[in-house]
């Protein structure tokens, strides 16, 4: 009786273990297959040329595979988004952690949750219909699409990530620090920006980096508002194409090495994201250590 039960228990434990490993296995599979599909491109073109040439003509003869303009597109759009979302995100995070009370706090919390839940196609549609005409009129750009519009849309999309993590890290700051500062006669605001924000900086930084990851990886919204031009972005009003857009657009008709090059683009994106993720995990670990 007892032994049969323990056999069951062991079996269940094994099943649970396998379930827990599915995500690890998926990560391994995704990595292996993306690399396996994408790496053969380097028999045709050197990695340096792929990364540092802005000549993208995969269907020409001879084909050109240079994705520098897409990398730059991703960089422009992402930093534009962070430039807008970091100040707002930090402020709202501070507000939620330290200042918000009662009903208004509750409403704001639901709002942030909803912003995180709205699908990216909705953001894209909204950006195209509502934001691009404003840009067109304000800056006299012909289409109203491009880096700036994409940055605004992405800024709204990354806002919840930054707000949430800022709030969580501010709340994790030990109470004694805050109390000590207030006891020394510092005002509430001084306590926030001289004591609390500095001691929560790793966490806040992790939130910003996480937002950056979201912005780089976002596809649909930018696809709808960035203009999708295969050129080097020259300024906030120029049309651009990001790494994700390159994959989503060309996959429709890509064949042979063109398709391979899209997986190679995927590798670049994947490596970016992995780097960002490790940075986040490092920062988070640092936050935990600082707390202790």
């Amino acid at each position: 009786m007892k032994s049969s039960k323990s056999v069951l228990e062991v079996a269940v434990e094994k099943i649970l273990l396998i379930s827990a490993f599915i995500s690890v296995i998926s990560v391994v599979f995704i990595t292996v297959f993306i690399f396996k599909e994408g790496l053969p491109l380097f028999t045709r073109v050197s990695p340096l040329e792929f990364l540092f040439s802005s000549n993208w003509a995969p269907t020409a003869d001879p084909p050109q595979y240079g994705i520098l303009s897409f990398i730059m597109g991703s960089v422009w759009v992402t930093f534009g988004a962070l430039l807008l979302s970091v100040p707002i995100g930090l402020a709202v995070g501070i507000f939620m952690a330290e200042m918000a009370e009662g009903r208004f706090a509750q409403i704001l919390r639901s709002v942030v949750e909803l912003l995180a839940g709205i699908p990216s196609v909705i953001y894209g549609l909204f950006g195209y219909i509502a934001i691009s005409p404003v840009i067109r009129r304000l800056f006299d750009s012909p289409t109203g699409l491009g880096v700036l519009t994409a940055s605004i849309v992405l800024a709204i999309m990354t806002l919840p990530t930054i707000i949430n993590i800022t709030e969580v890290s501010l709340r994790a700051v030990p109470g004694e620090l805050k109390e000590g500062s207030l006891a020394l006669g510092a005002t509430h605001w001084m306590t926030i920006y001289r004591v609390m924000v500095p001691s929560a900086r790793s966490g806040i930084l992790a939130g910003i980096v996480l937002g950056m990851g979201r912005a780089i990886g976002e596809t649909m919204a930018v696809l709808m508002v960035a203009g999708n031009a295969v050129t080097m972005p020259r300024g906030p009003l120029s049309l651009t194409r990001t790494l994700t857009m390159n994959i989503a657009t060309d996959m429709k008709y890509a064949a042979d090495y063109h398709a391979v090059s899209l997986f190679t683009t995927g590798i670049v994106l994947f490596v970016f994201i992995l780097g960002i993720n490790s940075l986040v995990q490092y920062l988070m670990k640092k936050t935990v250590k600082e707390e202790m």
Binding site: V121, T219, M220
Partner: protein
């Protein structure tokens, strides 16, 4: 000084203390400004959401367009034809959602050159079936000339149903879906309930070609309905007044058509309000007139009808059902695996290397962008496992995507179950497995459910991963390998094919409503959970 103290002593005393140190006043100022800015930004966040959701709901619920037509918006329900004794009335089956039609539409409907469908006029996917009375003699000939004017056609084509009396026409129109016919006004006195009169818009603004020429880099492109009215009433004397070039406007009478048409052709800036058929007949030009069209966008029909013609006609019923199928199967696959993984990570795994690997796997998986999932799904499920672009490939890919969400929330929920529950159960002699199933899981279930609802929200909104794993067929899912569309994908397809912004918005509104629903139920669950743990 003393009088001020008498007036309000406590406040001035309090002030004095602050004023005593200019530095502290500065700090107080700083505090106020900083907090004001933060309040402002918090309000901005709310405003952004209200703007987005409000904009989409308003646009999604109602359409409000200015559509250019060759004819003015003036509707005639009873048409006075030149040369006939009786007036003319067009009737349609009640099921056709159309109030009035431009005369060009009547021509194509009766000609049936293509597989004529009401969808071209009111986005209702319904085949049009014209009917005529063969034995109507002169009247019918006149109407035929009216309908077929400008076409190289002597008689109706074969598709047009022939009836032998007016009563037969009425009963045919009443009994056939999408049918359209015509009657003399005297016969249309009391029509049965299943037949209704179709209004016709046929008045065009015919102009001398000089009106539409470019001059001083200006050109008349179109008129609004108000401007057209003013011109017809004779209140406009120069084309400049209605956005045209500097050209005097001469309004001609539409009586005695031959003489006046000649005048129209020879007089610069001449205009005549006339039947559209004469525009084609005399080879003059007409100015497009904008019609203000407004109404409900997100109607019951839109939700319940099947999509047709790439989503241009009909509704989105199949697409909503497909979305629910995708959600159902994604949760069916991901919830058990996710919850089991969380149980292992909370109840069994010891802190250490294994745990670090598991945690890193989940975090990495949650950070991977959806387009990379799409690439993986395309290469692994579609190509290597040979499942093809379709329902099963996309479900499995999305399952992997939402797994981290479910694992993380379930983990939190399991962790929040007090240790004393477990100890109590174990002390009563239950095994670990029994404890988990009978004690820990029920206690954690609201949290787990919250995670599942969040996963539903993610599934509803996901698009990039589906483009190359689910395809673009807008039919109902019929099997594991059938290509389909879900709401978000349908929205993107409508958007990228630029088929109809109204329908894109209506689809977006449905999507937003779904997201609001999932979010509110998640919040509700979370509140219940807090209540439970509070007890």
């Amino acid at each position: 000084m003393s009088s001020a103290e008498v007036l309000n002593p406590p406040v001035s005393k309090g002030r004095k203390e602050v004023v005593s140190s200019p530095q502290s006043r500065k700090l107080r100022m700083q505090e106020k400004v900083a907090k004001g800015i933060i309040w402002g930004l918090a309000a901005l966040t709310i405003a952004i959401l209200v703007w987005i959701v409000g904009y989409l709901m308003v646009k999604g619920l109602r359409y409000n367009n200015m559509t250019p037509y060759n004819v003015t918006p003036y509707v005639e329900r009873v048409i006075d034809l030149d040369g006939t004794e009786d007036d003319l009335v067009f009737i349609i089956n009640r099921g056709v959602r159309e109030q009035d039609i431009e005369v060009d539409g009547l021509r194509t409907l009766f000609n049936k050159r293509r597989n004529e469908n009401w969808g071209f006029y009111n986005e209702q996917n319904l085949r049009a079936q014209p009917v005529v009375n063969e034995n109507a003699g002169d009247f019918s000939v006149q109407v035929k000339d009216f309908i077929l004017a400008g076409e190289d056609l002597d008689d109706y084509r074969g598709y047009v149903e022939k009836a032998s009396s007016w009563d037969e026409v009425i009963s045919y129109v009443g009994g056939t879906e999408g049918a359209i016919g015509f009657l003399p006004a005297s016969e249309a006195a009391d029509l049965p309930r299943d037949v209704k009169v179709l209004g016709v818009r046929r008045k065009a603004i015919a102009v001398n070609p000089s009106v539409l020429m470019i001059k001083d880099s200006r050109m008349l492109r179109e008129l609004t309905d108000k401007q057209a009215e003013k011109i017809a009433a004779g209140e406009v004397s120069n084309w400049m007044e209605v956005g045209g070039t500097d050209l005097p406007l001469t309004l001609l009478d539409s009586e005695n058509i031959e003489v006046n048409m000649e005048a129209l052709q020879s007089t610069e800036g001449a205009v005549m309000l006339t039947d559209y058929r004469y525009v084609a007949e005399y080879g003059v030009r007409s100015v497009p007139v904008l019609r203000h069209e407004t109404g409900w966008n997100l109607t019951w029909h839109f939700i319940t009808e099947a999509p047709a013609r790439s989503g241009q006609w009909g509704g989105i019923s199949y697409i909503i059902i497909n979305t629910f199928f995708l959600i159902l199967f994604t949760i069916l696959f991901s919830a058990p695996v996710g919850v089991m993984a969380a149980i292992y990570m909370v109840e069994y795994a010891k802190q250490g290397r294994l745990m670090r690997i598991l945690r890193m796997g989940t975090e990495t998986l949650s950070g991977i962008p959806s387009i990379v999932f799409g690439l993986f799904g395309f290469i692994f499920f579609v190509r290597i496992l040979g499942m093809g672009i379709g329902f099963i490939s996309s479900t499995l890919t999305v399952t992997l995507m939402v797994l981290p969400t479910i694992i993380r929330t379930s983990e939190e929920a399991l962790k929040s179950v007090p240790q004393s529950f477990r100890e109590g159960s174990l002390a009563l002699g239950a095994t670990k497995l029994q404890t988990i199933i009978k004690v820990v899981l029920p206690a954690a279930s609201p949290g787990i459910l919250t995670g599942i609802i969040l996963a539903v929200g993610r599934t509803v909104g996901e698009t990039a991963v589906l483009i190359y794993t689910l395809g673009s067929n807008y039919d109902l899912v019929s099997g594991p390998s059938s290509s389909a569309r879900v709401l978000s994908l349908h929205l993107y397809m409508l958007f990228s094919e630029a088929l109809s912004f109204d329908r894109t918005f209506a689809t977006g509104a449905v999507l937003v409503i779904l997201i609001l629903l999932t979010n509110f139920s998640a919040t509700f669950m979370m509140k219940r959970m807090n209540k439970n743990s509070g007890m």
